[in-house]
Every structure is written in structure tokens, then in C-alpha cells.
């Protein structure tokens, strides 16, 4: 006879995670435009730079 001592946990599917994944998949399929928003750690640099 084989004895087992398994910890059985019920896996709860997180509805929020599923919704988020579904949303991300939909957004990815919706296209991406052709340019991107520029983000910088220095907020003053984000809009316009006369000289780089």
C-alpha cells in the first residue's frame, strides 16, 4: 500500500486576472498605432527639447 501525504490546495482562478488577460489580448489585437508616447524619468524632458 502506498501512502501519500499530499498538500492539496484548491486552485482559485482569479477572475480579475482572467479579465485582465482578456483585456490585454484584446488590446494587443486592436493594433498599436504607428508611433509611441515618450516617457522620461525627468518630466521636464517629456514634451519638447530644443537640444538633445
Amino acid at each position: 500500500m502506498i501512502k501519500g501525504n499530499f498538500n492539496i490546495k484548491k486552485i482559485e482562478i482569479d477572475e480579475k486576472d482572467n479579465n485582465q488577460k482578456e483585456l490585454e489580448a484584446l488590446i494587443a489585437k486592436a493594433g498599436a498605432g504607428s508611433h509611441m508616447i515618450f516617457r522620461s524619468e525627468d518630466k521636464d524632458d517629456e514634451l519638447f527639447l530644443d537640444e538633445l
Partner: protein, 362 residues
């Protein structure tokens, strides 16, 4: 509207809402404030997700193209003009108003090109590339409006078609083109053949003050005897409409910028089939799902008292423009004269276009 609107929910839902409100540490907050926080949080969550996904996708799709295009354009950049030259005679004290023209549905629905062509407006016209041909055909020409600009930032070859028309050729020598250093050389060639005057700038995408960013390296390469400091660089906000708004104040020093056809959305009366012609909607999507409602929301524009449908691309664009407008210098006044769309909020004056023209004797 009354100050006591009622929402009917059953006991079970009310109990769930109360539990959630308490769990979020908002036990003492009134329901209005809590709902407001919740809506903002949901919206910010979605728009942040969109921004992250789009950033990744755009990088994957276009980064190499930007570098290749830049290399091909370099010789022309050295020999042509910098947008900095357009700033020389403009100061914040003498800058003229600018009208930025996008090609959103409101432009045609509200006949704004015809209204503009019949006006006495004498400031800058800044056309986004996609609407150039329509604008010229509608009488919005550089013969009537002397300070006429068209902007391109996108890198794809097909953008050349926006310049490939007899009417562009006819007015070409009176039109100033503002081009990002990463546009397709094919677009450049069509514009040049139409005798358009070219002014270059950089589109910001990876500048981080280190010597490893492509923006930094590209600028070093553009430095020549006639561009001693290289080229100025702008935030594009992901699209040519936002780029044009940036150019209006940062380069042309316009104290007033009027937006036409910059809707970043669709009228709520437009069907999804119709919307699909602007930006493709994934064919297998369940339009009743929660995720669809988050990705394709209908929003209320309180300034024009109308509803507006959005898709992920327009959520991405509008979030940025709405964020950037109040961050512009305090002397910049942005007027949304589209009559609808999603651009409203702090720092944005929404006004009927005819009213703007009348008020300023245009």
C-alpha cells in the same frame, strides 16, 4: 440634471458594494467620491495597460524601420532646414494663433474645412498629413492662408500617398513640411518632387540623457555646420495630431491653438462596422464582454454635451494629449473646436468653431 439621481440596485449588490467600499478603506467616504475614485482607477488601469502594450508593439514593429529611415534621410537632413529656423521670428509675444487640422469624423460632419476656407483667419494652418489633400480641395490652401504647414511623423512608406496628388503638386512650393527624422525616404522624395520646403525635427522615443539612446545618437549625427545643435525634438503623443499641437506652441510659439478634427474618438451614433473602417476591430471579439467595454468604452463629453465611442488606439492618444495640454507653458491656450470627441478637461477650452471665428473677428 437633478442633484439627486437614483441608482436602483438589489440588496445583494448593495451589500457587495458596501463590502468593497469598506475593504478599500473608504468606509467614511460618501458614495459619490468612492464611485469617482473607482471609475478613475478603472480608467487609469486600462489606459496604463494600453500604453504598456502599445509601447512594446510599436517598438517591435517600428524600431528597426526608424533607424533605417533615419540613415537614409541623414544626407537630406544635413542639407535641408531645421524646424529651429521656424522659431527664429516667433516669440511668445508675437506668435500667431494656429489651427491644427486632424482628420477625425467631426471635421467632415461639421463641415469645418468649408467654414475655415470662408473665414478671415490669418494665423498658422497646421495640417496633419492625412488631411492635406482634403484641406486643399476644400479651399484651405496656402494661397489663402500664407502660413501653411503640414506635418508627418509616421515611418511607413504608404504615407507618401498623402503627398502624391496633383493638388499637392500645384500648391507644393507654398507649403512648409515638418518631417520627423525617421519618416520614410519615399515620403520625402514625393514631397521634394512637389517642391515643398522641408524642415526636420526628431520624434522623441527613447531619449534618457545617456549616450546609448537612439535619440541621442541620431542627434549627434545630425550636427553639421548648418545644424550646430542638431535638431529640436518633440513628444509625438503617438500620433501626428498631438505632434502638430506640440509644434504649434514649441516651434511656432502660438499662444492659441485651435483643434479641428482631433476627436480621438467616434460619435456614439457611429456603428462598430463604420468604426472598423477607421481602426480595425478584431473579428472574433465578443462585444458584450467586460474586456470589450473597457477597451472600447463610450464616454461622455460634458463640455459639448455628447457621447463618444473610443477604441484602444484613441484611448492611448487621448490620454496623452489630455495629460500634455495642462503641462504646456501657461501662455498656451488650447481650444477644442471639434464640437465633440474625447479631448476635454483641465486646460482645454471647448468652443464651437464658428463662435471662435466670430469672437476673434475671423
Amino acid at each position: 440634471m437633478t442633484d439627486k439621481n437614483q441608482i436602483n440596485v438589489n440588496d445583494k449588490i448593495f451589500e457587495k458594494l458596501t463590502k468593497l467600499k469598506n475593504a478599500m478603506g473608504s468606509k467614511d467616504k460618501d458614495w459619490n467620491n468612492w464611485f469617482d475614485d473607482l471609475i478613475t482607477e478603472i480608467k487609469d488601469d486600462t489606459t496604463s495597460t494600453i500604453e504598456l502594450i502599445f509601447k512594446k508593439n510599436v517598438y517591435e514593429k517600428f524600431y528597426d524601420v526608424w533607424i533605417q529611415n533615419f540613415a537614409s534621410n541623414l544626407n537630406n537632413i544635413w542639407n535641408d532646414h531645421s524646424v529651429r529656423e521656424l522659431s527664429l521670428n516667433n516669440t511668445t509675444a508675437n506668435g500667431m494663433p494656429s489651427i491644427v487640422i486632424g482628420r477625425g469624423p467631426s471635421l467632415f460632419e461639421k463641415n469645418h474645412l468649408k467654414i475655415l476656407s470662408e473665414s478671415r483667419f490669418d494665423g498658422n494652418i497646421i495640417c496633419t498629413d492625412g488631411v492635406l489633400i482634403k484641406a486643399l480641395e476644400s479651399g484651405v490652401t496656402p494661397e489663402k492662408f500664407k502660413n501653411f504647414y503640414v506635418v508627418t511623423i509616421d515611418a511607413q512608406d504608404h504615407i507618401k500617398e498623402f503627398y502624391n496628388d496633383d493638388i499637392v503638386s500645384r500648391y507644393g512650393n507654398k507649403i512648409n513640411c515638418i518631417f520627423s527624422s525617421t519618416i520614410s525616404p519615399e515620403t520625402y522624395n514625393v514631397a521634394k518632387n512637389n517642391k515643398m520646403k522641408i524642415f526636420w525635427l526628431h520624434a522623441l522615443f527613447d531619449y534618457n540623457k545617456t549616450k546609448t539612446s537612439f535619440n541621442y545618437m541620431a542627434n549627434i549625427m545630425t550636427k553639421t555646420y548648418n545644424h550646430e545643435k542638431g535638431l529640436p525634438a518633440i513628444q509625438t503623443g503617438g500620433n501626428v495630431g498631438t505632434s502638430s499641437w506640440m509644434i504649434a506652441w514649441s516651434i511656432l510659439k502660438s499662444p492659441t491653438i485651435v483643434l479641428l478634427g482631433i476627436d480621438h474618438g467616434y460619435p456614439d451614433t457611429m456603428s462598430w462596422d463604420e468604426i472598423d473602417k477607421y481602426h480595425k476591430i478584431p473579428s472574433d471579439v465578443d462585444k458584450t464582454s467586460k474586456s470589450f467595454k473597457n477597451a472600447y468604452p463610450t464616454i461622455y463629453n460634458p463640455d459639448f454635451d455628447c457621447y463618444c465611442k473610443q477604441d484602444p488606439i484613441f484611448q492611448y492618444y487621448s490620454k496623452a494629449l489630455i495629460e500634455f495640454i495642462p503641462r504646456a507653458p501657461s501662455w498656451v491656450n488650447t481650444i477644442n473646436a471639434t464640437g465633440g470627441g474625447s479631448i476635454f478637461g483641465p486646460g482645454i477650452t471647448c468652443m464651437n468653431f464658428k463662435k471662435y471665428l466670430e469672437k476673434n473677428n475671423f
